[in-house]
């Protein structure tokens, strides 16, 4: 009568368990890992391809002044599926997905909306959306 796992068992009895004792032990994420989104204004032309192809409508893009490249990129972390299509679409490498920021749990709803852009633009945006003066180009 053959018993298959006898050798495995005897070896495991003397080995350290494979369990990773998170959060006391944290392995680094691989460099390609798709975590939280980051946007830089440098190079952005306001083409909106990232907004159009996002399957979860996680990006709200506000064009304050296209000629002077005043844009605001609002990102909803809780809607994002981390697929990476926006980063793939952007021809100017404005969007990157961080590989170390993946512990995104939070108890507070407001933390899930991240607004990227210049501070003065963001202030203008907050004033204007209250009076609905700026068109929002969501997907």
């Amino acid at each position: 009568m053959r018993i298959g796992l006898l050798r495995d068992l005897s070896r495991s009895a003397f080995r350290r368990p494979v369990t990773e004792r998170y959060p006391f032990e944290k392995r680094p994420a691989p460099p390609n890992y798709r975590g939280k989104l980051h946007w830089t204004a440098e190079g952005c032309t306001g083409c909106n391809l990232c907004v159009k192809d996002c399957p979860a409508e996680a990006i709200d893009f506000f064009i304050l002044d296209k000629a002077n490249k005043q844009f605001i990129f609002r990102y909803h972390i809780d809607r994002c599926t981390f697929c990476g299509q926006c980063a793939f679409n952007c021809r100017f490498n404005c969007i990157t997905l961080a590989n170390e920021e993946w512990e995104l749990a939070c108890g507070d709803r407001d933390a899930f909306i991240v607004t990227y852009g210049r501070p003065e633009d963001i202030a203008r945006l907050d004033l204007a959306t209250e009076s609905a003066a700026i068109p929002e180009s969501a997907g």
Binding site: L5, L9, A13
Partner: protein, 315 residues
Amino acid sequence: MALDLLNLLFFPAGLGLIGAGLLYQWADRKLLARFQNRLGPRWFQPFADALKLLGKEEIHPAGSSPVLFAFLPVLALSGALTAALYVPLFGLAPVFSFPGDLIVTLYLMSLLTLCIGLAGAQTRDRFSLAGALRVFTQMFAYEAPFILALLTPAVALRLAGQPGSWQISELATAAAGRPWFLLLLPITFVVALVGLMGKLELPPFDAPEAETEIVAGALTEYSGRGLALFSLARAVELVVGLTLVTALYLGGVGSGPLAAVLFTAKTVGLLLVIVVLQTLLARLRIDQTVNLWWRIGSVLVLAQWLLLILYQVLR
């Protein structure tokens, strides 16, 4: 009198026994986990589980008798705790002892299984009914060889010319002065050990509570306090079963504190063997279990008895 009460309620029986049972359960789970290359729970996990269950709401299913539903877990735990009074727990002298208490202990151990089966049979839930059917079927399968295997040392001692006794404390002391019955009666030791796994419904004999087939078997409808009492009864039964097999087969009970520690270590060693068997083997179907016991178990016990008688006749 006060000492008796202390023994009965706190140590070695009563609360101390329940605590020890939960610790043995922890050892079982931890060793199982380590054999599977994972971490396993911390020492207080079974205590936390029992406390949590005691605090949960109990839902009474429609169609079952409320008296039986509430009473059976209590009966199961009391049966297990009473059976513990006659065995040498942790190598100390049994709390009470009288001639014939081996038979009484064996019946009290079966009381737990009966209660589980009845608990499943008196509800209307299909999973409980299927589980109860399996509990009783399995009991009919292993009970006879298991009991015979536990009675064999007494019979062997009688045949060897010692004064006959069915009293556990006397058997244990007699066994201490001889080479281990494990060596003299190896076949029935194996039957007793495997029978213990059947009684405790440990894999590979856990068909009555096969989680992936019938949810939780006979105890499906239990939650809260009833389930806590049943699981405490199981924990106590683990200790009692291990102690009984050790006392009879692994060299009995000596005198003095060192012998008590050695005895406890032997029970833990037996637990280790049980855990290895648990980890290695896949679950048997209920009909395969019955086949195994009726064909192989009984034959083995009878073979051992024949050998014993032959040995005496030839001497």
